[in-house]
């Protein structure tokens, strides 16, 4: 699990429990029970779990308490606190759909085969306004066969992500994969959340055939890589696929060329460069990749200066635009961006983590050999995609020494890559 952000608030366990136990009306303005509940993820102790259970029992209906209660339910799930199951189960009947959602999710994390609890979750599928995806995921994860009929009712739901979850759920529970191409088609949904969520359903269904389609899906490479990696891990583990099958799609995603994606957006006329640069700040990365492609195709001469200016002004502090600036400098093979890319390659701030692998790829594109020792430094990090991208960039320089260095790497994908070349 990615835990880069778990220690965001740096509270002690005692202090977090003390804040969480404070009655909602008496919390000081400088404290937050919501943050205290969030922070207890760091303490898998009976004391923390008991405090979270007490927070779940506090049913003050005001918003400030409601969100604390919900978060406490979620954290108990993350802590896999089986002793909290009765308290969490109680929340399945809550009036607040998000509290119910978190309770169902937490039960899935903790795991149970209690038929009464599972039937209760299945029954929620009959109620209006619930978070059906989470219920379907949990029932499927816990292999609750009696829910097949109830889940089947959602396979043609008007909301594509709900339909996607239901199709994947039925496939997993029945072994009938004939409808899975409908989930694959949702990788081209107009809504970015729809695209992201269909990747999750393909992962859950272990639908290995979709790996090439995931590699083309216009979402952030974080989602593509997560999908491909998780499917590869499962598929190689059960002997369904091998690394050589996955490798081209994995590397296509790491390289992340916009022309390798099946974009779902189009411009009706060529936008000004300034408008295209604004699009790099979009939260829908599909739009960012369209802007990237258009900048590279239509403004190769004027874009670098404009990107440097925008970087100094704003993109240096926006983890989305920061990433795209690095990529574009590489696609434009803009040699003066060398220093900028080296800085990004070694930037340890977690929100800019994906810019590091992007910078490695861009440095490979630019081809300035001063980058070789810098890329070697990246082989010695804990970030798998950075190490893998550095290997790919070094390949472009004709430096193949990284394979020997990483042949026993702790990360299995990096190890597979290194050994595939030895």
């Amino acid at each position: 699990m990615d835990n880069r952000f778990f220690s965001l608030f740096n509270l002690t366990e005692d202090r977090a429990i003390e804040i969480l136990d404070t009655p909602p009306d008496l919390v000081a303005e400088s404290d937050s029970r919501y943050i205290a509940a969030s922070h207890l993820i760091n303490f898998q102790t009976d004391r923390s779990i008991s405090a979270l259970i007490r927070a779940v029992a506090e049913t003050d209906p005001r918003l400030d308490n409601k969100i604390v209660r919900r978060k406490s339910v979620e954290i108990l799930g993350r802590l896999k606190a089986a002793q909290a199951l009765p308290a969490i189960r109680f929340c399945l009947q809550d009036e607040d759909c998000y509290t119910v959602e978190n309770a169902v999710w937490s039960i899935g994390e903790i795991g149970t085969q209690d038929p009464e609890i599972l039937a209760e979750i299945a029954q929620l599928l009959e109620q209006p306004g619930q978070s059906y995806r989470v219920m379907i995921h949990t029932l499927t994860k816990l292999n609750y066969q009696p829910a097949v009929a109830q889940i089947s009712k959602f396979v043609n739901n008007i909301d594509p992500p709900i339909a996607s979850a239901a199709i994947a759920g039925v496939c997993r529970l029945t072994g009938d994969y004939t409808q899975m191409e409908r989930v694959v088609a949702m990788l081209q949904n107009q809504n970015v959340l729809g695209r992201r969520l269909s990747i999750q359903d393909l992962i859950d269904a272990r639908y290995y055939q979709a790996i090439p389609d995931i590699a083309c899906c216009p979402v952030s490479l974080v989602f593509r890589l997560r999908g491909i990696r998780m499917l590869a891990e499962a598929g190689i583990g059960d002997g369904s696929i091998d690394f050589a099958t996955v490798q081209p799609y994995l590397e296509q995603s790491l390289r992340d060329r916009p022309q390798d994606l099946k974009l779902v957006h189009r411009y009706d006329q060529l936008p000004e460069l300034s408008a295209l640069i604004r699009d790099l700040y979009e939260t829908d990365f599909g739009k960012c990749y369209l802007a990237t492609q258009t900048i590279v195709d239509s403004y190769p001469d004027t874009a670098p200066a404009a990107l440097f200016a925008d970087y100094a002004e704003e993109a240096n502090n926006d983890y989305g635009a920061h990433f795209h600036v690095m990529k574009i400098m590489g696609w434009l093979k803009h040699a003066p961006a060398y220093d900028l890319l080296i800085e990004a390659l070694h930037n340890t701030q977690p929100q800019f983590q994906k810019s590091r692998a992007a910078a490695a790829i861009a440095l490979g594109e630019i081809g300035d050999s001063r980058a070789i020792p810098e890329l070697h430094k990246s082989l010695d990090t804990k970030i798998w995609d950075l190490k893998y991208a550095a290997l790919m960039a070094l390949e472009q320089f004709g430096d193949l020494s990284g394979y020997e260095i990483l042949k026993d790497d702790t990360d299995w994908l990096v190890r597979a890559k290194a050994n595939s070349q030895l």
Binding site: L8, F9, I67, K71, N317, Y319, P350
Partner: protein, 164 residues
């Protein structure tokens, strides 16, 4: 884009009927509140950067120990994440004020976002804290009229509730 008007028409059409009296009353209510919503939308639009900046600055002030430079606890981490995402949510709130319904937040900010945050273990606390600050900071008549503030705060509450 879902709004009170489109919801009423869609549900009437689905049932093959004319909008009922209560349907029309809800549309009327939405129209009556439109000028307050548009006032809030205009004020928010004019101050979007400031509101977002104030919100995350307030979080930093509230949690001064976010100060291990270069690591997950750093101010920069928190501020950069907050700044980008808070601006995104405020923009969606502004759209909601214009539309007169929660459609933009529902469709672009919430549906599936909770699942993504959970799957990637992303923290919701910074957003919740910053949006809570924005809600508590609003002041009438300094920032906008009382009715406009009611509309604005209702959407901030909606976003806080949905993200947490």
């Amino acid at each position: 884009m879902k709004s009170v008007v489109t919801t009423v028409v869609a549900s009437a059409d689905a049932a093959g009927r004319f909008p009922s009296t209560s349907d029309l009353e809800s549309v009327q209510g939405s129209i009556q509140r439109a000028s307050a919503r548009l006032e809030a939308a205009e004020k928010l639009s004019a101050n979007l950067d400031n509101v977002a900046k104030e919100a995350y600055d307030a979080c930093i002030k509230k949690y001064p120990y976010l100060n291990n430079a270069g690591e997950a606890n750093s101010n920069d981490t928190f501020k950069a994440k907050c700044h980008r995402d808070i601006k995104h949510y405020l923009r969606l709130i502004q759209y909601c004020l214009v539309v007169g319904g929660t459609g933009p937040l529902d469709e672009w900010g919430i549906a599936g976002q909770r699942e993504v945050y959970r799957a990637l273990s992303l923290p919701t606390a910074p957003y919740v804290e910053a949006l809570s600050f924005a809600r508590n900071r609003g002041c009438t008549p300094r920032d906008m009229s009382a009715q406009a503030l009611v509309e604005y705060n209702a959407l901030l509450d909606y976003a806080i509730n949905s993200l947490s």
